[in-house]
Assembly symmetry: C2
Homo-oligomer: 357 residues x 2
Amino acid sequence: MTKTKIDVTLSKTKKEKPQSDQLEFGRVFTDHMFVMDYSPTKGWHDARIVPYEPISLSPASMVFHYGQTVFEGLKAYRTQDDKVLLFRPEKNMHRLNLSNERLCIPQIDGEFVIEALKQLVSIEKEWIPTAEGTSLYIRPFIIPTEYFLGVAPSNFYRFMIILSPVGSYYKEGIHPVKIFVENHYVRAVDGGTGKAKTGANYASSLKAQEEAAKKGYSQVLWLDGVEKKYIEEVGSMNIFFKISGEVVTPELNGSILEGVTRNSIIELLKSWDIPVSERKISMEEVYETYKKGKLEEVFGTGTAAVISPVGEFLYNEQKMVINDGLTGELSKKLYDTLSGIQRGTMQDPFNWVVDVN
Amino acid sequence: MTKTKIDVTLSKTKKEKPQSDQLEFGRVFTDHMFVMDYSPTKGWHDARIVPYEPISLSPASMVFHYGQTVFEGLKAYRTQDDKVLLFRPEKNMHRLNLSNERLCIPQIDGEFVIEALKQLVSIEKEWIPTAEGTSLYIRPFIIPTEYFLGVAPSNFYRFMIILSPVGSYYKEGIHPVKIFVENHYVRAVDGGTGKAKTGANYASSLKAQEEAAKKGYSQVLWLDGVEKKYIEEVGSMNIFFKISGEVVTPELNGSILEGVTRNSIIELLKSWDIPVSERKISMEEVYETYKKGKLEEVFGTGTAAVISPVGEFLYNEQKMVINDGLTGELSKKLYDTLSGIQRGTMQDPFNWVVDVN
């Protein structure tokens, strides 16, 4: 890994920034991006911040054919006193390297990339929205760039970071969603790529998502690929169940993504002395506890929404309405606390937040 | 689907063509390519043959993030009397639409694309090598082009066909390969994308391939993702076993690719009155027949190699040497016959071959 200075070329023109109240997710991008390239002889090299511009690749570039890609997602927040905060970026870099390992992509130097990211975010500081619930979404990703149609790991790669100002995930506050329990399509399986943040898992999820939407459900609950019995994830989030006062989340089994928010929620619950366990949990077990009136709250966790309460499941044609379709007390407290820490409005006893300056 | 005439822009310069005896697989591309675009309002439109040139896309283009891609592979052959032949291209178009359906990509008009393909191949006729074993590899593929980081099917796509002159797959004639039976990594699972020709299946296979290569094995035998017991594919080919005179291949179960060569081999065997069955077959069963001396031949089938004999398996640390590591009689006959039909040197009683003119 070449640790040379990052070459900076500033854009001559500045794009118009969108209004804070009109921000969507992932449609508008800032003026600059970070780029570095990999070759077998030079390793990762030519690290640079340049104007945001199109990528030009041969149609035979491997990225268009064999899906050997990885990515990450995290956010920068701008505080009332104008500081810029990142949330546990070292976790994203660690996971990026786990994904790289699974996809045969060379490891990156996480510390160096965090430095690059800080520099990029500082340059784009004016792009970080300040309104309640808004943030700057950060998308690091790696694509294979060799021009070759053989099925083999690419010899050349490009690493990029692009930035997008995003609005509040819940325009009218935190809002429970309706979930379809998927028992036909599979997102990932043991021995597959489920643990990696790679295009494959998202490509395979689209069809189920589309069919659930037709039935009026906004997300899909994924069961394990082997027995179609044990719960894995919800949409592209991790999932938690509050059952008789205890919080349960599926254990990391190789096909579940190791969510940064998932890990933070577990730490928060432990610090509050709320019992939390990571273990196998079947949909049948959830249904049984529901029938006994012991299923108190359900919520998904992820970078985009932080906490996404589940108001209803459709499971084998059975509707299960959770907590009267309302946001639970614990879900709300977790959302408020974690968002508060991320935005610098609440104390951070865990040292999770990183000041960009 | 707009069935307007295909707009043709010829290249002003011509690239130098490689020597027939120096051809590799998928490294050199011809002077032109076919392109058409999809939008929700226009459908597939702007069909055109243009000079081969780079694709320019925003870094936020969905193809770099969520793997929503599909592709096909087929070949054109140039005969001794200078005709250009395609092999069952309608099968590839049918499968492309099956892949599209699984990946939420709009259907293409197969007949129209075959016409476009014929026109493109005619323009590039001089690029089709004539030496024994050489051909023109054809790669149709579709990529999502919307600039959006949300996880959803793209609203915009690009369909392209690129062409690459390729050498004989076996430089020194048909040659048996050594195969590692994979019992950790999984290529695809029921409910996943195994049946589709999409990047996801290839991305997930790279790691196993890399580890097998380190052990001295050139390909991986994939077992089913649920029980890791039943045989699915070998490398990126379908697989056949000759056991006591009967030929057995895994049945199409949703996670196995519906190979065009696979289907053609089954038809050929039937026409020769050789018993052939498509059924579940476990690696344990193969091992038992091997121990009893009843495993006569094993071979993979695919567009690249046509027939690829298996000389050895490594299964749970046990070496299984098949037919003394030599190419079997039936494997050889199937290779000679199918290659002969494809190249126009043998009769084609099935009407598989399509003359481009």
